[in-house]
Symmetry: C2
Subunit: 101 residues, 2 copies
DNA sequence: TTCGATAGTTCAAGAAACCCGAACTATTGA
DNA sequence: TCAATAGTTCGGGTTTCTTGAACTATCGAA
């Protein structure tokens, strides 16, 4: 399990960020992470919502879009929103998305 | 050619709006429309960028997401950004997207 | 009022992306 | 060392996207 690649936000295209946020399951993860500080894969999207391979893929997309940072602790992986960095890269975007609905 | 359906913005889910904006060609169209007032299909995305069936589909996605309004004038179709309505539905979102990059 | 050109839609099929079960890797605790 | 836990990767079935070809609608000119 090679450890995770966290892109430099400067290298993330706007369309990739929007794409990452445009899926209901991923958006739910982002909302959950915005509320909590850090969550593991299981808590980021409750198990009823999708099988773990799907959750894992969603987290990979969020990671590639610069939205989350993941670190291992024992056998769990904890992810946090890269809120400040993302905000610096796309001012107002995450705020607008979290506020909406 | 049945005329166009323009959804009530209240019925547009956030994820549909983000999905519509997450494609480079559609984002380019939105940027072009934000600059100009109204554009036809050809001008919204210059022909070099995609065949017309693709442009037509992209415009349909933008329409369904409540981002544009289209009207016929002779044999051309002109589209405009539904800027105010979209802004009222998703405050800050379009502004953040147009500002980015 | 018919014909040709222009503007765009719809259809269908091939290409690309997504989802999820099964098999695998990594870590821990007994 | 073994079983359990947490998550990844792989494969292939399904869905979605793209685009050429055929179609519809409108206009201007003969």
């Amino acid at each position: 399990m090679a450890e995770f690649i966290h892109p430099n936000l400067a290298d993330v295209p706007l369309t990739a960020a929007l794409h990452a946020l445009s899926d209901p399951a991923r958006l739910a993860m982002v909302r959950n992470l915005a509320g909590a500080g850090e969550l593991n894969c299981e808590c980021a999207l409750p198990s009823c919502a999708a099988p773990k391979s799907t959750r894992s893929n969603h987290l990979k997309v969020l990671r590639a879009a610069g939205l989350i940072e993941t670190r291992r602790e024992g056998r769990e992986l904890f992810s946090r929103l890269r809120k400040k960095e993302f905000e610096a890269r796309f001012p107002g975007l995450l705020r607008a998305v979290l506020k909406a609905e």
